[in-house]
């Protein structure tokens, strides 16, 4: 079956512009996660959606970042007034249930964001 997909695969934007990154999780997966990975660095947690519960936004680095998940499926990560330090690969992952259970995360290929 289809895996997690993300679009666009690459995005170059000018400093100060807004960007939207999209994630299509695997059908039926109730949990969805966003991570950021700067060049050569680890996976920085951003936000976590689980079913109809309020999302865990504790990892969002500033109020310029927001995310929503419509209909329990597709998610959009929005970055307003982009800064050069926002340049990174943004990874989305989904799983059948909260990761505290025996369910693995499936990662999408990521969106490489470059802010010039």
């Amino acid at each position: 079956g289809a895996g997690v997909s993300q679009s666009p695969s690459n995005k170059v934007t000018e400093k100060g512009k807004d960007v939207e990154l999209r994630c299509d999780p695997i059908s039926g997966h109730t949990a969805l996660y966003w991570y950021r990975q700067s060049l050569g660095q680890g996976l920085e947690f951003l936000i976590y959606f689980q079913g109809n519960s309020a999302p865990d936004k504790s990892g969002l680095p500033s109020d310029r970042f927001s995310a929503e998940r419509t209909g329990g499926s597709v998610s959009t990560l929005t970055i307003q007034r982009t800064q050069q330090e926002d340049s990174a690969v943004y990874l989305c992952a989904s799983s059948l249930a909260p990761a505290g259970g025996p369910y693995e995360q499936y990662f999408g290929p990521g969106t490489r964001l470059t802010v010039t």
């Binding site: 996660y33 991570y35 660095q41 680890g42 996976l43 947690f45 976590y48 689980q50 865990d56 504790s58 990892g59 990874l91 992952a93 909260p98 990761a99 505290g100 259970g101 025996p102 369910y103 693995e104 995360q105 499936y106 990662f107 999408g108 290929p109 990521g110």
Partner: protein, 106 residues
């Protein structure tokens, strides 16, 4: 709370063994292990759910010591394909450690 991984990097010759450790200052109920190759997305290796649980995946296995709040990943008779960065992750929202870079030399 981010788990701590050690070592940060390992260089091995093909056929040698390696151990990667993951520890947390908070109580652990599960530990996830992933491998990421350069330019690719992380790929699931295994989940450990109970204290003392051990699992294996080919020649890669892991243990979970709930009391010590740590997990270890064991790579035996390493192959070139094992090269990459290994991440452990903990908690419901999966907070990952900073990763361990493993490079296998022929």
């Amino acid at each position: 709370q981010q788990p701590v991984q050690s070592p940060q990097a390992v260089i091995l010759r093909e056929g040698e063994d390696a151990v990667i450790n993951c520890s947390s200052s908070k109580a652990l109920y599960s530990v996830h292990w992933y491998r990421q190759k350069h330019g690719e997305a992380p790929v699931f290796l295994m989940i450990l759910l109970k204290g003392g649980e051990q699992k294996g995946h080919e020649k890669i296995s892991a243990s979970f010591n709930e009391k010590k709040q740590q997990s270890s990943l064991y790579l035996t008779a390493s192959q070139l394909s094992y090269s990459g960065t290994y991440f452990c992750g903990t908690g419901d929202k999966i907070i990952f450690g900073k990763g361990t870079r493993l490079h296998i030399l022929p």
